[in-house]
Symmetry: C2
Subunit: 117 residues, 2 copies
C-alpha cells in the first residue's frame, strides 16, 4: 500500500516509538510531527545538523526493523480496512433499522477511533 | 483481566516472539505449546535443567518488558472484546435481515479470526 512518509513514521512511532531512546523520540516528533528542519533541531539541541540527521536515520531504521520482524502495523492496516468496510455497510443499512445495529455501528466506530491511540 | 499463564505466553509470543533468540522461541514453544518438561527440554538440547529454566525466565521477562513498553496486547484484547460484542449484536439481528448486515458480520468474523493469526 502506498503511504506518505510522515504518515508511515507516525504509525511506526505509535507502535514502536517507546523502544527508541528519548532523544530519538524527541527528534522524530520535532522533525515529522512539528515540521522542524534539521538545522532548527540542531540549533535547539546544540549539536551538528549531521548528528540530527544520523539520529533520525538510525531511529527510522530501528522502527522499520521492528515492523519487519513483527509486522503489527501491516496487520493493523488490513484490519482497519475491513473494519471500515463493515462500518460502511452498517452505516448504509442503519437508515431503516433501529437499536441493535446502531449500537454495533457505535462500537465499530469506537474501535476505529481507538486504533490510533 | 485474568488469564492463564499459557494463554498469556501464547499471546506474548504471537506479538513479540520474533524479538527473541531462536533458542528462546524454541524452548517456549516446547514448554508452553507442547507441554514438555524442563527436564525433557534439557535432555533434548544437552543442557542442564537450570539452563532451560533460566532461558525461559529470561525470555518471559523480555516479552513482558516489550508489552510493558508498548501495551499492544492490552489494546488488542480491548478491541477484541468490542469486536465480539459488535459481532454478537449483528448475529442476533441477522435473523430477519439480509445481505448487507450478513456481509458486515462475515467481515467482523474474519477480523476476529485473523487476530491470532
Amino acid at each position: 500500500m502506498s503511504m506518505d512518509k510522515v504518515t508511515m513514521m507516525t504509525l511506526l512511532c505509535d507502535f514502536y516509538g517507546q523502544l527508541l531512546t528519548k532523544r530519538q523520540q524527541k527528534f522524530i516528533e520535532l522533525y515529522y510531527g512539528n515540521d522542524y528542519s534539521l538545522g532548527e533541531i540542531a540549533e535547539n539541541y546544540g549539536v551538528s545538523r549531521q548528528a540530527v540527521y544520523d539520529t533520525l536515520k538510525r531511529a527510522e531504521s530501528t522502527l522499520r526493523n521492528y515492523e519487519r520482524k513483527l509486522g503489527l502495523i501491516d496487520k493493523f492496516l488490513k484490519q482497519r480496512n475491513k473494519l471500515a468496510e463493515a462500518a460502511r455497510l452498517l452505516e448504509e443499512h442503519n437508515k431503516n433499522s433501529p437499536g441493535r445495529i446502531a449500537r454495533a455501528r457505535e462500537i465499530l466506530q469506537e474501535i476505529l477511533e481507538m486504533d490510533r491511540g
